[in-house]
Symmetry: C2
Subunit: 492 residues, 2 copies
């Protein structure tokens, strides 16, 4: 066989939807931060800081948050269950304080549910016993008469893979639209770009704590339909990412009315539901829906809701373990069958992540040997989060040209930057969005890595950035103050 070797594939030969998908959380600023991190290691002292402050991503354990002891003890046994066969050894391990007694009992029960080994594929929908635990958690959370069923729950690899399933099933071309809050978590637009479908933006109202506006959403729906794009779903992120804000019960009820009126499914991204600061309350979309259904019989029976949760957030912060669930409410059985088929093509989500979802939704109870320590650890994490959120909020409210909504929960603040005209001009010269310019300068001067508002979307002409309040210490917050003052002086 003699031949002329052909050309290699170039970017132009690839799926252009993949080429054009954007994901700012790991975008240009974090990539620059990685380069600077390499520089710190290879050429110490060459930068004005000695480490990167990774405030760009909600990744608590990367920045030193300790995992909860109970959870990790159970997972440790699930990985090495041989010790359960030796009662004498177990007794010694309890005496040495390696495992608490309730940990051992819980691990046994979970292994029974799994069928013996976390190394076997589970059912594609997830381990039935764990789905029951999740259903119990939902029932306790919402206190509604109508009970959640394990049949409606899918265990997923984080919430990301649930989003992927849902959008893959609901959309397959530019004539399918999904209503996306702006600002949004960019997974949504990236996934829609990949499936060549249409994001229909609806704007959150910053001045009223990032609330929704039903009238505007209805206008968006009508305009979209007039343009030949059928809205099939609306995404709600509550508590908000990147906003950190919590939606009111009446905002949620309004969304449900829109869903009922237009036959649009609701995707409720509720992964931050456990990170709620005192004085604020989380209302699950499910609870608001079931209450409306019982108050107005027949009117809301057509609402289709997918509610997402995850092990990555909450106080647990087990991001790398990739646990999550979605509950599907009100969908036709024939639709759920397609979700199940899609899940089966990926075979199953990681079984330890499924186990973690069980542990997160059923923590130690009063009287259990692990209860006291577990509570202490949770309270410590919560206090640390609130402390840093307050400090950052204090920073932003004290800075010239920055406005910030009060922290309500989640892991983020999303301050508004009223940038000096000269800074905006400079950014335009560099052909990057002005808030990206601010974030880049902040990174270069202090090592603090954030994500510009342009990566999440924002009202045209406004600028923001997202920072987590996960990084320990307050020294970096002071450095930020110093940078900001110099930045504004430079461009005033």
């Amino acid at each position: 066989m003699s031949f002329v070797p052909a050309e290699k594939l170039s970017v132009n030969d690839l799926n252009q939807h993949a080429v054009h998908a954007d994901y700012a959380v790991r975008g240009s600023i974090p990539m620059r931060a990685e380069q600077l991190h390499a520089q710190i290691i290879n050429d110490p002292g060459s930068l004005p800081f000695d480490k990167i402050i990774t405030a760009n991503i909600g990744n608590p354990q990367q920045v030193g948050q300790k995992p909860l002891t109970f959870i990790r003890q159970v997972l440790s046994i699930l990985e090495y269950p041989n010790i359960l066969n030796d009662p004498e050894l177990l007794e010694k391990l309890v005496q040495l304080g390696v495992y608490q007694r309730d940990v051992i009992e819980r691990a046994r029960k979970m292994l029974d549910s799994i069928g013996g080994s976390v190394g076997a594929y589970s059912a594609s929908q997830g381990v039935l016993g764990f789905r029951q635990t999740v259903a119990d958690f939902i029932n306790k959370r919402d206190g509604c008469k109508q009970l959640a069923s394990p049949n409606d729950i899918f265990l997923t690899g984080g919430a990301s893979s649930a989003v992927h399933y849902l959008l893959s099933i609901l959309c397959s071309g530019p004539e399918f639209g999904v209503l996306i809050p702006i600002p949004q978590y960019p997974l949504y637009t990236a996934t829609l770009t990949l499936s060549n479908s249409t994001a229909i933006p609806y704007y959150l109202k910053e001045h009223t704590s990032w609330s929704t506006n039903t009238k505007e959403i209805e206008i968006n729906i009508k305009e979209s339909m007039a343009n030949g794009v059928k809205p099939v779903a609306i995404v709600i992120i509550n508590p908000g990412n990147p906003t950190g804000a919590i939606l009111s019960e009446s905002d949620l009820a309004d969304i449900i009315r829109i869903s009922a009126k237009y036959g649009i499914a609701i995707i409720a991204d509720e992964v931050y539901q456990e990170n709620i600061f005192p004085g604020f309350e989380f209302h699950s979309m499910r609870k608001v829906l079931l209450n409306l259904q019982s108050e107005f019989p027949g009117t809301y029976d057509n609402v289709q809701l997918a509610s997402l949760h995850s092990t990555s957030k909450g106080f647990i912060g087990e991001c790398g373990q990739r646990g999550g669930y979605m509950e599907l409410i009100g969908f036709k059985d024939e639709v759920i069958a397609i979700v199940l088929k899609l899940a089966s093509i990926s075979i199953c989500s990681v079984v330890t992540g499924q186990a973690l979802m069980d542990l997160v939704t059923c923590p130690p109870q009063p009287g259990d040997a692990s209860y006291k320590l577990d509570q202490e650890e949770r309270n410590k994490i919560k206090q640390d989060l609130m402390f840093r959120a307050d400090r950052l909020y204090g920073l932003f409210t004290s800075l010239e040209g920055v406005e910030c909504q009060r922290p309500q929960g989640a892991m983020y603040l999303f301050p508004k930057l009223i940038l000096p005209d000269k800074a905006i001009e400079k950014a335009l010269q560099l052909e990057i969005p002005p808030d990206e310019y601010y974030c880049r300068e902040l990174l270069d001067a202090t090592g603090i890595c954030t994500v510009p508002g342009s990566g999440f979307g924002q009202d045209p002409g406004t600028y923001h950035l997202r920072t987590t309040f996960l990084v320990p210490g307050t020294e970096w917050i002071e450095r930020w103050r110093e940078f900001h003052q110099q930045f504004y002086e430079r461009f005033s």
Copy 2:
């Protein structure tokens, strides 16, 4: 707001590519098996068997294969690393035999690579230290002068997610084609259906141990191009799934020539590379490629190869832990950047699964405390696999109307069924493929769950089934004999 509630979404409103994707490994026969399993529990004694023999899926630990002790001890510490901070406790755990000393050292090293916690998201490409371990494994396996680099390796959630990334990037419409072996593992056609792209089948030659035929593949390519479908990749499954056959070095070289001539990327699914029976040899696509490149300088430099491996197969069988890797060779940097972006949208694969890939590619070495037991456990698994493969092969060669290629490796046999005309007629009456009818009757009579050849594709007019040789014991093999004889008597 008063309104008429809209209709719910029906299957017709969904992405029709998702509706039409097929995945037989969890298809109609396994779903029927699940129903029968429920019947056994709810109504014991109502069926002629008391358990389901799950020979439909390569899921070793589901059917009782024990995990390797070394691997699970390390993972156990990764989940609960607190014990590493207490030297006295560690010493006691070593004395109690809970952990070997090399296990503790390995866990420490891996936690350093990870940055401290498996609960943090890793880099999207995977933990760098683990990718280096994988590169070392590849270098040792292939013994080539050109070294593998961690920069070319992506840690993935099993091989399934690597397939998903690759096909998502390479294909986005019916004008993109991927050459798929027939019979094939149905993940490939399912994923292509989801992305609305074209599978270009090429047939393996059963009578020569499922070898490839270059001339036919070239004809397929030319016909496809004439039909307006551009072949962008060719999938090779070696060792084969469902065939269990190993491709020869010259077959692989032929595929590489085709790749070079037509600029078609190679996706080498090599997840069964460690399950090779004595007398057979596995040649990695990479080794064959690098050898060709050094033998004929310049001619094969354009070849683009993605090689996939997994923690699910081999002797390890850790399916539920979802570890895997892909190595990308010869792709342009701009293409690799798109793969990385896609990986970053999913954030990262499960970190314990990444750790497992490290452990699988670097097992205990002679002199390590865990070495002896690890070798014993591996040999036991290997012997059990070979024993059952032989017994099943013996069954199939002794049965009327069955032909079977000699087992070479992997986990499967794919016997050919020469079905009685009356059985074929019966199946046609029931409007199901004849081999699906055989598998259904086998399941209903014996509880043995297999997958019909029609789920993998096969030469038109031929019938097959895939069975794993993982299920312990031989009693089920005898029951199969009995069923088969009665089936043939019934229809003769």
